[in-house]
Symmetry: C2
DNA sequence: TACATGTGTTATAAAATACTTACATATGAT
DNA sequence: ATCATATGTAAGTATTTTATAACACATGTA
């Protein structure tokens, strides 16, 4: 169960989830851990793009990764889902909005 | 309780929620309905910008609006929160991802 | 009449996000 | 050696989102 410490954390998760490719990534990973190149093929997107999306998911703590050696002897970076489960309602948004910052990113 | 008919609907809601200004708007409206100009002052943002955000929230069915005549005799557009409450987890994302489209917007 | 307060829109600029192309490195198999 | 597969990243482009500025019109009040 995801617990949000503040509004910025909530926003980070919502931003990570507000993209169709990233939802697809989560859907695939919900069937089991997978390594980057395989994921890219399965989703039909380029590896650099996949990296970008995985990075956002990782920053929001929705996925995590481990390096592993494949049977072939090659290194592979495996991604897996963290526990994604939370309730969202107006009360929560109201409470967390006090610790939500409105800022430029760069 | 929000029920998602398909992945695109889920995404629409997540996109609407993935912006700090819009979360603030929801937070303010959770304390009661309010009209646009008042909202803009309270949030410290311009009316055209507020319109943009309200439009996204309305498209996602998170808020709705009514025209009303103020005591002064002027027309005012009141916005109010719809019921915002849902659970999100990997199972739901997995199921809805099948009806989620990856597309350009314009 | 001029001012303050509403709604509503268009055009434009700025910032952030998404995506592509090209490259570098490493391992094992043919 | 060359091919196929893996990671990783830099740089440039395209698209989308966010924000601003400038209008239009209407009502009530000083």
């Amino acid at each position: 169960m995801i617990y949000f410490n503040n509004g910025d954390e909530l926003l980070l998760v919502l931003e990570a989830l507000s993209n169709p490719q990233r939802l697809k990534i989560i859907a695939v990973l919900s069937e089991g851990r997978q390594y980057v190149s395989h994921l890219a093929r399965e989703l039909g997107i380029s590896r650099p793009l996949l990296y970008l999306h995985l990075q956002k998911l990782e920053e929001a703590n929705l996925v995590s990764s481990d390096m592993e050696i494949l049977e072939t002897g090659q290194a592979a970076k495996y991604y897996q889902l963290n526990d994604i489960h939370f309730v969202l309602n107006e009360q929560l948004i109201h409470d967390l909005s006090k610790s939500l910052s409105i800022k430029r990113k760069k």
